[in-house]
Amino acid sequence: TQLLEQSPQFLSIQEGENLTVYCNSSSVFSSLQWYRQEPGEGPVLLVTVVTGGEVKKLKRLTFQFGDARKDSSLHITAAQTGDTGLYLCAGAARAGNNRKLIWGLGTSLAVNP
């Protein structure tokens, strides 16, 4: 069974602080995605990383895919209250018609003013 372990599960920080969320697995993924979910809404894609070692930046958010394509991290610089939400990582292991994602349990981030 493929698993994605996400840490930390909960994070409460002050506005302006930096933070990193980790997503780890023993399995290799063809791609890994990060989503953000706000209360009462469905998850929304932030980024997809495909190549081992790949780094992508989205404003203050930096995403990295591990060299072996088994892990990923999300770093937020100078967090803002608008960053509050549930961050989910999801890995893809494509096989035939299988287009399912393996989901982490999420990191609930609260950024306090």
Binding site: V50, R99, L101
Partner: protein
């Protein structure tokens, strides 16, 4: 945004009654998914579809069935609702490109 809508958005029902949730997408995506999201369990796949009339079970499929007679619609049926099926249900769709999934707004289901 893949134009995914879910109906109803909220539902309260009684144990033992059948319930059908509807998912509609406007982007002609081939793949569609039904998830449930519960505290401590994250998103769990119930069923998914890889084409019209082509469906497969996910990790928590017991007590649920699905149908997809048209590309744009994916129905989830709780055959006889139980209190353990109280949850938030999300539908998602994907073209398969990089496995990106686009989610609907969710349906909050309470089974009394």
């Amino acid at each position: 945004d893949a134009g995914i809508t879910q109906s109803p958005r909220h539902k309260v029902t009684e144990t033992g009654t059948p319930v059908t949730l509807r998912c509609h997408q406007t982007e002609n995506h081939r793949y569609m998914y039904w998830y449930r999201q519960d505290p401590g369990h994250g998103l769990r796949l119930i069923h998914y579809s890889y084409g019209v009339k082509d469906t497969d079970k996910g990790e928590v499929s017991d007590g649920y069935s699905v149908s997809r007679s048209k590309t744009e619609d994916f129905l989830l049926t709780l055959e006889s609702a139980t209190s353990s099926q109280t949850s938030v249900y999300f539908c998602a769709a994907s073209s398969g490109y990089q496995e990106t999934q686009y989610f609907g707004p969710g349906t909050r289901l309470l089974v009394l």
